[in-house]
Symmetry: C2
């Protein structure tokens, strides 16, 4: 009976402080972290400049309990932040996580979620050092990651120069194809659906690009065209992508065929895969990166734009909140 009641135990049954103990149990802290959870602040060392990024994920907006396992949501909320540190060419150091939890949420959900959080943190090399917990109507997750630049300067969005090449590393269109499949009630192709549930961030690609001298970089969260648009604006350049340069992955092809959609729409417009997109001086592109376009001068009339094969892309270019 004990295990049965434990199985059905809710966040409200357990209470705030036991839940925090459960989450912070056996937490491994690297040498740079001198104080982890349990004091007013975490304390740790930063090498070079500090980098900070934050993301908020809310049930019903960013994920659905019926679509994603707790572990997948845990992976995702960490991955999206680590990708931002990668996109500066930095190394993640410390992470804090705040959870708003409904009282009737099973404790097992929180446990499995934290398993995903810890696994992704280990993959990306960041230490969970603290957080906050409160009650909420919808599961609400806020993650902040603090990183360091080490011996290099950060790679900004504003450094792209005419004649640089544009290159990408990581998955493009997988998460969007997975979302399209899920929205039609499909659970396959599995690889695309899994990508929607938890992105496969190409960890290390950002530091690799920084070491190779990338002039600008961003992670693809809103969609390649939208995110390269941020680089074009910040750098005051235009970008022209060569559609023939993109390799469309099999799962993206499969979804596009099933839905009678243009697979390139997923690749160019689909977000949430957190691939890295960067610009490099010609000949400086590191291994594993695919050159997909060229940086040019911003046209005086149109300003900084991102074109595909020399023309405006007419398909989907990602989405924003509040207008979806």
């Amino acid at each position: 009976m004990t295990s049965g009641s434990a199985q059905n135990e809710t966040v409200g049954d357990l209470g705030e402080f036991p839940l925090i103990s459960l989450i912070t149990r056996n937490l491994a802290l690297p040498p740079a972290v001198s104080v982890g959870p349990g004091d007013d602040c975490a304390v740790y060392l930063i090498n070079g400049s500090a980098l900070t990024t934050t993301d908020m994920l809310i049930e019903g907006v960013h994920f659905r309990r019926s679509w994603s396992s707790p572990a997948e949501i845990g992976h995702k909320c960490v991955a999206v932040n680590l990708a931002d540190v990668e996109a500066m060419g930095g190394t993640p150091v410390a992470m804090v996580i705040s959870l708003g939890l409904p009282s009737d949420l099973p404790v097992t959900w929180v446990k499995e979620f934290m398993t995903g959080v810890r696994e992704e943190a280990e993959l990306g090399g960041v230490a969970l050092v603290g957080g906050d917990m409160t009650s909420a109507r919808d599961i609400t997750i806020s993650v902040t990651v603090i990183g360091e630049t080490g011996g290099r300067g950060p790679v900004l969005r504003s450094g792209a120069r005419p004649d640089d090449v544009v290159a990408v590393r990581g998955r493009l269109g997988w998460a969007a194809a997975g979302l399209a499949a899920l929205l039609r009630g499909f659970r396959s192709p599995r690889a695309a659906v899994d990508s929607q549930r938890a992105p496969q961030v190409p960890y290390g690609a950002g530091r690799q690009a920084a070491e190779a001298g990338a002039s600008a970089m961003i992670d693809v969260s809103d969609g390649l065209l939208a995110d390269l648009g941020h680089i074009a604006e910040a750098s005051e350049v235009s970008i022209d992508l060569d559609s023939a340069r993109f390799t469309v992955a099999d799962p993206v092809h499969a979804v596009a065929s099933a839905l009678n959609a243009d697979p390139l729409g997923f690749v160019l417009g689909g977000g949430e895969d957190h691939a890295m997109a960067a610009t490099f001086a010609p000949g400086k592109v590191p291994d594993g990166w695919d050159v997909v376009g060229l940086v040019g001068h911003a046209d005086e009339e149109t300003g900084p734009v991102v074109l595909v094969d020399g023309a405006q892309w007419e398909g989907d270019k990602g989405w924003t909140h509040f207008r979806s």
Copy 2:
């Protein structure tokens, strides 16, 4: 008509990116911050070890729109985090803020909220360097502050030693008295009610205590007894408070009289004022701090406890989420 429609404009009308522009407009960044909002991460310098704290505030749980103005909520969400950095004896450097906003929320609410955020950030000396924004059913605010220890080590909860004195600086019981008044439908005494809506953190008191050699410190968020309990546990000591040493402020007295309650219950059990509580070697207590008790050896039978006049306190000792 233009001003009329602008007056009624909602977050959903305006859209995500214009809203972010509105929030980050004319942001003053100190020299330590090289990259503010608008890239994948903020970039800034840290002197000494980094300190990090985070808090999540949710409408209906931590505040009500009918009780608090948007500016007061802005003040509060920044203040509670800055108080944590103070409680380590640190100096705040950078802040990120994530907002979950209902689509039908008026843009004017967000503007006034951000006015409060910026005013409190200026009071406490922290730079807003980035954030995230999403839609949500309830207004959801997550703030993370990163600070620095400078030339000193952090003041932990675990450093209290027998024969140290316990001292406090800042308001005690004001917010709890204000909450009690609000819960009965009163809007006065104004000073207590205002304290509930936005705490008056004694900025600088934490660094002052650290410079004076405080052995342990915490900010009073859950209530003095509960928070000194954290010091007692972490330091493995007992603490005995002298009830005659506390000055009960007029607004707290007024509420206690009106509700026929013990004013000392608000002072000892009331949270959310974010006063500083610290322990010092005798004779090391800095100006402006009130000595209210003594640190002793933890009793072998009872373990680390906080007593009042040598006995367990029978009144309210604060509250926890999920069980309230």
